[in-house]
């Protein structure tokens, strides 16, 4: 009797739990759409999150369940968008060309450095412990964490500043997340004119730190005939929706930081040989 009772009680509890779980699994099962699995197999599987969802499978289920657009995957591009639409049986537009770009132009000779950093050669370490080696708090840290984040070899260091190779970039956004200073943005369609600075200090302060910083003079705002440029937080901002890419602000900018990505003098078109990340750090 002394041994029978425990056995009965434990097996009873086990039985109740087992039957309960079985019933729960049966009656509360969530049906999985098989199209989601097929879309998932078409997607690149990079799980980068550039589509705005948490990974490829999440995007696949979002397409099926909540009608997300099939052309959001920048890694797969038009190819994958076409395959997804075959699965769904609908026509779709091609994915829009997107790429990352770095909003800093402070190369070794242009920006002022305040320390000789001898620690771990990574942007994250430099930022965590010393707020960066340059005078500008929003400058490219220059140790190339983004180049290591990129799976496509699209970022390289050019005289201490990261530059994105537009042709190789698939706009996955991994570098955007990695940059401790949040300097990298994803261009979403529109024109390829952008501001190569992220400094929000007042003009005079910016000038003391860097010779290629936005001093918020406002000449670009006046130059623009379409009302696409505004000064926010002492920093020029271009509204990509309104910008037509005429290039008037590019000509007007006294610091030469509003640039056209397709401009031949842009670093990305020049020497593509990557200088070593970090390089001769604070000698400039």
């Amino acid at each position: 009797m002394t041994i029978a009772l425990p056995i009965i009680i434990v097996s009873l509890i086990g039985l109740v739990a087992g039957v309960g779980l079985t019933l729960a699994a049966k009656y509360m099962a969530v049906s999985v759409d098989e199209r989601a699995a097929r879309i998932n197999s078409v997607l690149p599987g990079a799980n980068c999150g550039a589509c705005g969802f948490a990974g490829c499978s999440d995007y696949a289920s979002a397409i099926v369940d909540s009608g997300a657009k099939p052309n959001l995957c920048p890694v797969g591009g038009a190819d994958v968008a076409a395959k997804i639409s075959t699965v769904l049986g609908v026509e779709v537009d091609a994915a829009e060309q997107r790429y990352a770009r770095v909003r800093c132009a402070g190369t070794f000779s242009k920006t002022r450095y305040v320390m000789r950093y001898r620690g771990m050669q990574s942007c994250a370490a430099n930022k965590t412990f010393y707020r960066g080696r340059g005078a500008c708090p929003n400058a490219c840290l220059g140790y190339g964490d983004c180049t290591y984040a990129c799976n496509y070899g699209a970022i390289y260091m050019y005289h201490g500043v990261a530059v994105v190779d537009k042709d190789k970039c698939v706009a996955c956004g991994l570098c955007v997340e990695r940059c401790p200073n949040k300097l990298i943005e994803l261009a979403r369609g529109g024109s390829d004119i952008f501001v190569r600075c992220s400094n929000t200090e007042k003009g005079k302060v910016t000038r003391s730190m860097c010779s290629v910083g936005c001093i918020a003079c406002g000449r670009c705002v006046k130059a623009c005939k379409f009302g696409a440029v505004e000064i926010e937080n002492n920093l020029a901002a271009i509204d990509q929706e309104k910008c037509v890419g005429c290039g008037l602000c590019v000509k007007e900018c006294p610091m030469n930081i509003i640039r056209k990505y397709s401009d031949p003098s842009f670093p990305h078109h020049r020497a593509k040989s990557a200088s070593p990340a970090g390089g001769q750090a604070a000698q400039g």
Partner: protein, 197 residues
């Protein structure tokens, strides 16, 4: 009311589950790499602890204690908690998909986490009433959250620090955890100091 406050205070700071009782070390070391995941994990642990206490307390008082089967508590509790967490997961998936996708990854991880089991068993070792047990479980979860958040901050610094090759990775994390645990010894005796004997 004062008793509940004493329980909360002591279980969060003085007898912190992770740092003083060394329960739930596995998720503490495993999931504390990033702040957001450690917060998610802690909330899931708190949730399961309260739920497990709410179910095991009546079970123990009404069934096991009545038939003098107290020695079965560990095996019965594991069984009940595991089944309960599975059931909760199925229900969340069906009725609250948003909560499921944020807790979902962590729920199965803590099915038979020793911190959860420890919370339920310690309720009876301390002779708590039902309300006190719930407070204890809630406080244990909060203490876990505190430890996780503190430690994820420390870990972020360690990740970037230039530590010697030998100490890279787990060794430096273990040493940091031991120092944090030592720091929490500073709270011992505080309950008497604040609330009186």
């Amino acid at each position: 009311m004062k008793e509940i406050l004493v329980i909360l205070f002591s279980v969060i700071l003085v007898d912190n589950f992770v740092l003083s009782k060394f329960l739930g070390i596995c998720p503490f070391l495993g999931v504390s790499k990033r702040l957001d995941s450690s917060v998610g994990m802690s909330i899931a642990v708190t949730f399961v602890m309260i739920l497990a206490t709410a179910v095991t307390w009546p079970l123990y008082a009404l069934l096991l204690a009545r038939f003098e089967l107290e020695y079965l508590q560990i095996i019965v509790f594991i069984l009940v908690i595991a089944a309960l967490v599975q059931l909760v997961e199925i229900m969340l998936k069906k009725y609250m998909p948003a909560l499921h996708s944020s807790l979902g990854v962590y729920l199965p991880l803590i099915t038979t986490n020793c911190a959860v089991l420890g919370a339920t068993i310690l309720n009876f070792d301390n002779g708590y009433t039902f309300a006190q047990s719930l407070a204890n479980a809630f406080g244990a979860g909060l203490g876990f959250l505190l430890a996780m958040v503190l430690f994820s901050g420390i870990r972020q610094k360690i990740e970037e620090a230039d530590v010697p090759e030998t100490f890279k990775g787990v060794p430096s994390v273990l040493i940091a955890a031991s120092i944090l645990s030592l720091a929490f010894m500073g709270f011992s005796g505080m309950v008497e100091g604040v609330f009186g004997k």
